[in-house]
């Protein structure tokens, strides 16, 4: 089952704004295979949504420039025509967005919006499309879907709306699903229901999934592979298990230490990564994490490290990961942890 579904190679996304050109995504790499869930994590503003929207080229193309390659089944989406993109969107690759409250059009019924997708990509009549839409709503666990389908978004709760979004995204059985923080705007119980639902449907349809989140708990729960982003770049890529047990990149380490522990000593103060994320207008010229990194030396400040293969299943973007990691073997990240 080693079919590469999506391959993102050195993606860069530049915006031409009134205040000059900013590069929100500057070196993103990852690969998604069929049936696999890849997590993309990082702090707010690190470029997760821009990455996701670049894949489907949803950003305003007048002010956006892309570089690199986004290969879907070997075809570069960045050089596809707009018609080819329209055939891929919603049909081969679907997307679920961060905020279910504003992602549905308020003036059309949910049925209208799902049916629109189905009729666009499938050769069915309106009646069949409605039946299919009801079936999809039922699949997402919406009670009495034949009634709900005639309702407007404002008549549904946030969780229900996200289910509608899922039903809509999956209505054409896409090969790849991009979920951009699909649960952040929801309450905790709804969050886990929605995650379970996505997981369940992913297995059912054997979809590849990109799960964007800032929550490492979500990654641990649903992902097989994870990509960590910092300030527009992928700084580490790894299988989930190795990442949690032995992170290579100092930033990943800090991120893991900042997860609240449910077990063990809870009186221990939560770890906080010192310093602030620089804005896109003042990106450091060397390693982007250098101003906040306890291991940074001159080289780090001057030269940007590339994302390199660290071992068979892992990549990292750090000049000193080997030394740091080896030193840490005996007492992981003592120096880093002590300095905080």
């Amino acid at each position: 089952m080693e079919t590469k579904l999506l391959e993102v190679k050195n993606l860069k996304t530049h915006f031409n704004t009134e205040r000059g050109r900013v590069t929100a995504v500057d070196g993103v790499f990852f690969t998604v295979h069929a049936g696999e869930t890849v997590g993309v994590v990082g702090e707010s503003g690190c470029g997760k949504s821009v990455t996701a929207e670049s894949i489907l080229r949803l950003l305003d193309e007048k002010s956006t420039e892309y570089e690199g390659e986004i290969l879907y089944k070997g075809k570069n989406l960045l050089t596809s025509t707009i018609n080819e993109m329209q055939a891929v969107r919603g049909n081969d690759i679907s997307m679920i967005f961060q905020d279910p409250m504003s992602s549905l059009n308020p003036v059309y019924t949910v049925g209208n919006q799902i049916v629109e997708s189905i009729m666009l990509h499938q050769n069915v009549n309106k009646k069949e499309a409605y039946e299919k839409a009801i079936e999809m709503l039922r699949l997402t666990g919406i009670p009495s879907p034949e009634k709900r389908i005639h309702e407007y978004p404002h008549e549904l709760s946030g969780g229900m709306r996200q289910r509608v979004m899922i039903a809509m995204a999956l209505s054409c059985q896409p090969k790849l699903l991009i979920a951009d923080e699909p649960t952040t705007a929801l309450d905790v119980t709804t969050q886990s229901q929605i995650l379970d639902l996505i997981n369940e449907l992913k297995v059912k349809f054997n979809m590849g999934t990109v799960m964007i989140t800032h929550d490492l708990g979500v990654v641990a729960e649903v992902c097989t592979k994870v990509v960590v982003m910092y300030l527009g770049q992928v700084i580490e890529e790894s299988d989930v298990r190795s990442l949690f047990s032995s992170p290579y990149h100092p930033y990943t380490d800090g991120l893991l230490k900042s997860i609240p522990q449910l077990t063990g000593d809870r009186s221990k103060k939560l770890h906080v990564i010192e310093g602030k994320v620089p804005t896109l207008h003042q990106v450091p010229k060397g390693c982007r994490f250098a101003p906040r990194c306890a291991f940074a030396n001159e080289k780090c400040h001057d030269e940007m490290p590339e994302l390199v293969q660290a071992d068979t299943s892992r990549k990292v973007r750090c000049w000193h990961y080997k030394e740091i990691f080896q030193a840490g073997e005996e007492s992981p990240y003592v120096s880093a942890a002590d300095s905080y």
């Binding site: 969107r89 997307m95 967005f97 504003s102 549905l104 003036v107 629109e116 809509m168």
Partner: protein, 316 residues
């Protein structure tokens, strides 16, 4: 829904009462005696005094007002001393041209302004956008009488494509009717069109950034469908507000345009009646215009519910 309409209609009563008071006061406080105007400069003071008595102009102001209002409530808007017919009859005999002109101008404005506004929004920042928006500024700032005169000069006098002035009723033939209305409708609708185009543009720019537009795009919909199905219907809510609000300006502008183009409509009726000091007609007509204005606004409000389901729900 019925309850809502009834409630709205009842709430109009105080508004219309205030309009009635203001109109009445303005007319009766401004100098100029209708009796002497009617009888002409040669009339003797005695004749004038007799006519004043007959018209009830010697009664205290509040008595004149209450007797007028009592009539209005019963559907009697007074009697035109000049035309010697009920005010209501003069009103309706002049309504046709104004209605035709206003509807035509409004339609022209909406049908031009919305596509222009949409295109400007889609092409924002480009030469096209700047040209349209510059044009709309001209549309807002050039007064309708001046525009009317320029149009006459160019299309009627120079090019001889269209009649200089005048009016042909609908029953003289649809095309003839429209031919006479084209220039006045452009003169009257230009400002309306400019305002609607600007609102369409800014409202579309807002909506095109909405998340549900991104959703629509992520489904693979064509740009045309995204704009005309998903964006425009949402953008239409503030556009409708502008249409409703500027309808008053349109009615006021109609008076000017009717004078320029010599169209026998309500505007001309009011202007002529002011010259003739035909109090009953002025008061009655302005009140009737006010009534139609508020009724149109009610219709606009009801249209919100048609466009936006959220409004519908709140009114249940």
């Amino acid at each position: 829904m019925k309850g809502y309409i009834l409630k709205r209609l009842l709430s109009l009563i105080p508004v219309l009462f205030v309009v009635a008071v203001v109109v009445f006061l303005i007319i009766h406080i401004t100098p100029g005696d209708p009796a002497s105007v009617m009888l002409g400069p040669e009339a003797s003071p005695r004749e004038v005094a007799e006519l004043r008595e007959e018209l009830g102009l010697n009664l205290p102001l509040y008595q004149q007002f209450t007797s007028w209002l009592a009539g209005v409530v019963q559907g009697d808007f007074g009697w035109s001393i000049f035309m010697n017919e009920p005010v209501l009859q003069s009103f309706f005999s002049h309504l046709g041209p104004t209605l035709s002109l206003a509807i035509f101008a409004q339609l022209l404005a909406v049908m031009l302004a919305i596509p222009f506004g949409v295109i400007a929004a889609k092409r924002r920042g480009t030469i096209i956008d700047q040209t349209f928006m510059g044009g709309s500024l001209i549309g807002i700032s050039v007064p309708s009488f001046l525009l009317g005169l320029l149009l006459i000069l160019l299309f009627a006098v120079q090019l001889r494509w269209l009649p200089v002035a005048g009016y042909k009723p609908l029953n003289a033939g649809f095309f003839l009717h429209i031919r006479y209305l084209i220039l006045p409708a452009i003169a009257l609708g230009a400002m309306q069109a400019a305002l609607i185009a600007r609102m369409t543009r800014s409202s579309m720019l807002d909506i095109l950034n909405a998340n549900y537009i991104k959703t629509a795009r992520s489904k693979g919909l064509r740009e045309k469908i995204i704009i005309y199905k998903h964006a425009l219907r949402n953008a239409f809510i503030p556009i409708l507000t502008v249409i409703g609000q500027t309808f008053g300006t349109l009615v006021a502008g109609a008076a000017v345009v009717e004078t320029v183009f010599n169209i026998p409509g309500i505007g001309q009726l009011i202007v002529n009646s002011v010259e003739r000091r035909d109090f009953a007609v002025i008061q009655g007509t302005i009140l009737l215009v006010a009534i139609s204005y508020v009724l149109i606004n009610l219709v606009v409000d009801l249209l919100y519910g048609v466009i936006d389901p959220r409004v519908r729900l709140n009114r249940k």
